[in-house]
């Protein structure tokens, strides 16, 4: 397991997966905001997209602009094979960490499974 993704990175990657062919900067920003249920700065999303692309988790291509954006092009993102692996790894780690607990946690930590890992 090479690189564990942070929560925000996972939110951005999953937004790219959800948006499929329509995954460009502004659409990703809105998707991330909707999923995290909070305002997110455009700069944060763009910095994360750049970082994930540098790591090889995303690939991008430039597509045509529209009138509302004064004809400026859009950069469309798509998940790479290593991005998919990283997301799967992140999910596997989370599952492993939560294994044996009921969610949401209450005052006394309820175990669903008395057996230890392994």
């Amino acid at each position: 397991m090479a690189d564990i993704l942070g929560t925000f990175e996972q939110a951005v990657l999953l937004a790219v997966v959800r948006l499929d062919d329509e995954a460009y900067g502004r659409a990703i920003l809105k998707e991330v905001q909707a999923r995290l249920e909070r305002e997110v700065a455009a700069g944060a999303v763009h910095a994360t997209l750049g970082r994930l692309e540098e790591k090889g988790f995303l690939v991008s291509r430039v597509g045509p602009g529209t009138e509302i954006r004064a004809g400026r092009p859009r950069r469309f993102y798509c998940l790479s094979a290593s991005g998919r692996r990283a997301l799967n790894d992140a999910r596997a780690v989370a599952n492993k960490l939560w294994h044996g607990f009921r969610w949401p946690l209450k005052g006394s930590y309820e175990r669903t499974d008395a057996s230890a890992l392994g």
Binding site: Y24, G25, R26, L29, K30, A41, A42, G43, A44, H46, A47, G50, V62, G65, T66, I68, R69, A70, R72, P73, R74, R75
Partner: protein, 193 residues
Amino acid sequence: MNEPTPPRWAETFLRLLLNSRDRETVSGDLLEEYRENIHPQRGQGGADRWYLSQVAGFAFRGNWLWAALLSGSFITRTALDWFVPPSNFYTRSFVSTWLAVAILFCAGFYASWQSGLLRSGVLAGIATTLFSAVICAVGTGCLLAIRHDAPTLDAIQGSGGLAEVFTLPLLLVIPGTFLGAVGGLMGGTARRF
């Protein structure tokens, strides 16, 4: 029909902050969000404020490291002068001055090397000093809150007084602009090779 437009100078600022690869796409994303979502919801003033906050976010992300280094060196120097006052300030002045020069030069160099524009270096110099001034004001205030006994207050007077500590970081915007420009010139030139 005329589409609503964010302040022209803010758009220019934003484009200077972005590298050449993202300049059109990212500024297009912000313009689209401004016109399609923010302006109809918040009106011209609110949308302009939103746009400015986004540009400030880009400026901070691009320059926080330089601002942290500059303010860190300034606060360290201030702490030494207040808590371990020297008999002669020359060595400390020499070191802190040239450290600040190097940081501001690097900020300009890196910004122009990324964007390919000299103006990005100038903007990086200005942004770095402004963000640094805010951090310095907070940091110096904390130092004062931690220790304000009589010997410390004497040392503060002996090192130039409180006014200097709070105004100097802001005055650095002038040499910061110049050094950012010099760094930007070198960074822009280095990018061509």
